[in-house]
Point group: C2
Chain length 447, copies 2
């Protein structure tokens, strides 16, 4: 099967583990069989592989997430990077065009689209297979999945089917209602709209021609920022008459708040934490190297990361967003394609970070106008180039780069560096990139 996973934007509602550049789908909190932890996106990817080893998995996402996706899923997964965010209709068209125009998959093939972040079990993917089969057989131009509601939620749109069969026609759609209206919908047999659907590729490509003048993937990519923001539901689903819905009764949870996320945790603590015997229904996620001690807590979540500390009643945690919006905290930790960085200390005139480079990876060759930098290599081996001069480096070496100096470093083994930036105007925007050029012949020996 071909599956497109929509990997959404930054999720401040799981602060301090999610922020502007770190999304909730990458937080590692689910226990794996080998005793480690995996993230939402890893869990879903492994579940898909379990149901269909040969599935084509394409993740439609923004540039900021591409590194994290490859770090967590490897290079085999397809990543369709949106040049900018334009809601789900352009994103789904781009990913479909990517599969057809770039990957060469026939436009007769069915594709499934679903969000990357619901918490589901294997039966969900078995149902997705059936959904694809229905689309492939031409049961309708568009085949939706409707979730059997478990309570009158105000968070979802509703689908009213024409009858109670497993697969039925669609009478109408309803936007997110209030709880009372939701109850009425459910009494009428409505299902939650979980944003899951299947179609043959040519269906969406044809719609794209009509609505946004789609010609091919590259042209679409180049003019992506000129497209209007519009959802797939609004642009396509709600206007389609040749449509059917398949019911799904299995587990399907949105883990968008600390309350729901902690419910899915198999153990109370991830990271270093101590709960005394009077704690009840407490979950701790601690990414720091120091312990969290909890005493006498009831129905609470505690989360600590380099960005900050959250201590919240579980119910209250769903109201977090406006408070996090007000926090003006620079990003302290980030995963990059080449490794990661963690800010250790900030003063008025300096910033100290720990930078980890993965074996075989390197930074861009770059310089800064308004800061000097010092690299203290604390472990590993590699090679640096400073102003065109290459040299081998290893633990114990110190490299000094004055403002304007061009520099890069490549890791042979995993390299850990304490980077010290010095200057009064330290900014991520002060960075000029260059093509790498190496002077002379051979390497200077380590001094």
């Amino acid at each position: 099967m071909h599956i497109i996973l929509l990997s959404g934007g930054s999720g401040k509602r799981l602060w301090p583990l999610s922020n502007d550049i770190r999304s909730k789908q990458f937080i590692k909190i689910f226990r794996t069989k080998d005793g480690g932890y995996e993230s939402m996106v890893q869990r879903m990817y492994h579940q898909i592989r379990e149901v269909d080893e040969g599935a084509t998995v394409t993740i439609a996402t923004s540039k900021t997430q591409a590194s994290s996706i490859h770090n967590q899923l490897g290079d085999e997964v397809l990543v369709c990077v949106e040049p900018c965010r334009r809601d789900t209709f352009p994103a789904i068209v781009l990913a479909t065009a990517y599969l057809h125009d770039v990957c060469g998959i026939s436009q007769e093939e069915p594709v499934i689209v679903c969000p990357v972040d619901p918490y589901v079990e294997i039966d969900y993917f078995e149902a997705l297979k059936k959904l694809a089969a229905l689309a492939g057989e031409g049961a309708a131009s568009l085949v939706l999945m409707g979730m059997e509601p478990t309570y009158p939620s105000e968070k979802y749109g509703y689908i009213l089917p024409t009858d109670k069969k497993t697969v039925s026609g669609v009478k109408t759609f309803r936007e997110k209602p209030d709880a009372e209206t939701a109850k009425e919908y459910i009494d009428q047999g409505a299902l939650w709209n979980g944003g899951v659907f299947a179609y043959r590729m040519k269906y969406v490509l044809e719609k794209a021609k009509q609505i946004i003048g789609y010609a091919d993937y590259e042209t679409l990519f180049d003019r992506y920022d000129s497209l209007d923001k519009i959802s797939f539901d609004y642009a396509v689903v709600e206007k389609e008459t040749d449509i059917c819905v398949m019911r799904f009764q299995g587990q399907w949870k949105d883990l968008g708040t600390w309350n729901t996320l902690s419910e899915a945790m198999e153990e109370p603590c991830v990271g270093e934490a101590i709960l005394n015997e009077t704690c009840e229904n407490v979950h701790v996620l601690n990414e720091l190297d120091v312990p969290v001690l909890c005493m006498g807590l009831k129905n609470m979540v505690v989360s600590a990361s380099p960005e900050g500390i959250l201590v919240s009643d579980k119910e209250q945690s769903s109201y977090i967003k406006p408070f996090v919006d007000k926090i003006d905290q620079q990003v302290m930790f980030a995963e990059k394609s080449w490794g990661d960085f963690l800010v250790l200390d900030v003063t008025r005139e300096s910033r100290t970070s720990k930078v980890t480079l993965k074996p075989g990876h390197s930074m861009n060759y770059h310089s800064h106008l308004r800061r000097d930098e010092i690299w203290n290599i604390i472990s590993g081996k590699g090679r640096c180039v400073i102003d065109g001069v290459s040299r081998r480096v290893e633990a114990g070496d110190v490299l000094e780069m004055k403002a304007g100096s061009r520099h890069t470093i490549m890791a042979d083994t995993e390299l850990k560096i304490i980077e010290i930036q010095l200057g009064r105007e330290i900014s991520v925007h002060d960075k000029q990139k260059f093509e790498l050029e190496i002077d002379g012949v051979g390497d200077k020996a380590d001094s």
Copy 2:
């Protein structure tokens, strides 16, 4: 007046702000008039100065606290350092001998002894003056202060006075009782024994001659570790018949737990913290540079420091000690006579710290057998000596010291250094100190 403040040992019950080397009396949580914060010991010192500007204040404490005391109170305060901990009788004798033999104060003079950590107001110090006057007049050999009990506490010993006058004789003493017995004592008119007493110095020096063969301060200091651990109450107070007690009715609180400490805070938060509108009776003490966000908390204390994070119900916080005893966390932050250090990052083969040196101060001249060190100067100016060679240093300089290399650094202005230690056996015990010797003439210019 002459006052001896007993500054007790490490207080794990206020973890993570107190630990093996940081005591609760140095935590800055009380608002000052100029909008800053002061610690218990600073608050008490300023209160004493307010009541008696010329008071002689001597702090009897351990070596580990001497730096913090001078950092917080300046150099004017007298510090009587105990070579090792031997309970209150030896400590009081040593401090009394220090006042008499070292400071030359007449042994006819009265002295007041009291613990450094109760939370009190100015009336307490007015009462101490009266206590000293009573001792000076010879009202009794030993004059105690008895606190009017406000509840049947199990935490204090009790003093039974002979009558209800402000100053009365003492019928008997009672050890810490259970709550029911405490209630009986209170019904009988008993007072809390707060460890506050006054005497003429010759009284204690005479007792010291009889009990431990006291001769003079220096001899006592030298053989201090051979003395038995014994409390002043047990060795002297409970055996004395020429004794009286003065009632005190003002505020006198022990801030030994997070519960009691937070009650004394004038505002809910010290440090970066956000409480949402559903929080009730919540106190936050955050020493980190990242925010703490609290939502829906009731009757709780949250405290974060480089050592760890505590989230506790206020009642439960008094049971913290056994949990903290189990935490095997290296010291991450410490104040020293020359400044302070903060551990930023620890790996298997490295430790990165921020070291701050106060102007005019320097480290010992020292070397390490099993680690290399790199100093990255991030701000300030000073002078370093490495293997006998002196050079000026300033922000941006990098100094590399291989294992075995002798090194020190002196601050002209406040110096901030990112220190990187490299080796597989990094330990505070791997340090050899040397007399400072500088080779050659003049200084090497900065390279």
